[in-house]
């Protein structure tokens, strides 16, 4: 995998991690956290 493709994958995973973070934060908030 070239550097460009690796960098792209990193960006994509960072955005998906942010989505996961929003999901977990919402769960905590809904449980009254």
């Amino acid at each position: 995998m070239d550097v460009k493709a690796q960098r792209n994958k990193a960006i994509m995973w960072a955005i998906l991690a942010l989505v996961a973070l929003i999901f977990v934060a919402s769960l905590i908030k809904m449980r009254g956290g």
Binding site: A5, N8, M12, L16, V19, A20, I22, F23, K29, M30
Partner: protein, 329 residues
């Protein structure tokens, strides 16, 4: 189709090859943030209009879930439409045809965001709302993008249901009972979509024709499209006034929907009587508005005004129902 073949086909079609390296904004662009902001707005209106007392935190989470679902639909659409996006001036700079983002990454992001959005809405808005969101994503990505868009000039009429559902999902997520008022915002967006989309398609017809997308002006011609726009407007405007008499909207809504509705009809009538769409005025591909051809001006006017019209209607609903929510809190 393998990626190599796909890239080659884009090159052959004259799609731009950019030397730029992808950044986070290119991945965000996959989620169609402009569409997402419209969905957030209409879903919020639906949520606030439901005659139930809202918990602001749960409401915010449900709206985020619906927004993420809209983003997922956008990514799945860009994944499937990459070939024709590369052929159209308006869309050729999107991340996939511009060679910045790989197709399978858009598919992966779309699928992950779909799953997370539906799960989040199930937890914050209930299973029925989550089911509706899943249906909407499926309808936009599969029924509209894969099936209708390339096969019928009524693609945006039927596909418009996907764009019309968010306020209804918001209403259901809030726990509102099913009534006429639950469906009115949905019906308004549903009837608004054809005049709005066809006004744009009139002066972008060659773009769609190049990509073999059978939009109404491409298949039936400009005149038939202008007449259909007017006919849809005749149904849309009275329907958009109706909420003022069903308890969904108040005096502000009545004033807004009547005055702006009259302007909408005048613009649609002027468009019908014009020759807009008879010549190709596609001066600049990317801009939704830029088009030097004077002949197409009535189409551009209606397209621009249709956005103002729908936004104003929903702002009136939001203000009137938002205030009554606060007064009741």
């Amino acid at each position: 189709m393998s990626d190599t073949t796909f890239e080659q086909s884009l090159e052959l079609a004259g799609a731009p090859k950019t030397a730029r390296i992808a950044g986070p904004k290119d991945y965000i662009a996959l989620l169609k943030p402009r569409v997402m902001s419209l969905v957030v707005f209409t879903a919020l209106v639906g949520y606030v209009c439901a005659p139930v007392k809202n918990n602001p935190v749960i409401m915010a989470i449900a709206i985020i879930a619906i927004a993420l679902g809209a983003g997922a639909s956008g990514a799945l659409n860009m994944w499937y439409d990459a070939d024709i996006d590369g052929l159209m001036k308006r869309t050729r700079m999107r991340p996939i045809p511009a060679g910045l983002v790989a197709k399978d990454e858009a598919l992966f992001m779309g699928l992950v965001c779909s799953f997370v959005s539906v799960a989040l809405l199930a937890l914050s808005g209930g299973l029925v709302a989550a089911g509706l969101l899943a249906f909407t994503i499926f309808f936009y990505a599969v029924v509209y993008s894969i099936w209708l868009k390339r096969h019928t000039p009524n693609n945006i009429v039927i596909g418009g249901l996907a764009g019309a559902l968010p306020p209804f999902i918001g209403w259901v997520a809030a726990g509102g009972a099913l009534s006429l008022n639950a469906f009115l915002p949905l019906l308004i967006i549903f009837l608004w979509t054809p005049p709005h989309s066809w006004a744009l398609a009139l002066y972008k017809a060659s773009d769609y024709a190049n990509a073999n997308v059978p939009m109404m002006p491409v298949v039936k011609g400009a005149k038939a499209t202008r007449i259909q726009i007017f006919v849809y407007s005749l149904f849309l405007v009275p329907l958009a006034i109706l909420p003022a008499f069903t308890g969904l909207g108040g005096m502000m809504y009545l004033g807004t929907s009547s005055v702006l509705g009259a302007i909408f009809l005048i613009l649609a009538y002027k468009l019908m009587r014009s020759n807009a769409g008879e010549i190709d005025g596609c001066a600049d591909g990317r801009s939704l508005y830029e088009d030097k051809a004077k002949l197409n001006r009535p189409a551009r006017d209606l397209f621009a005004f249709s956005l103002i019209y729908l936004t104003a209607l929903f702002i009136a609903l939001l203000l009137e129902n938002g205030f009554s929510q606060m007064a009741g809190a």
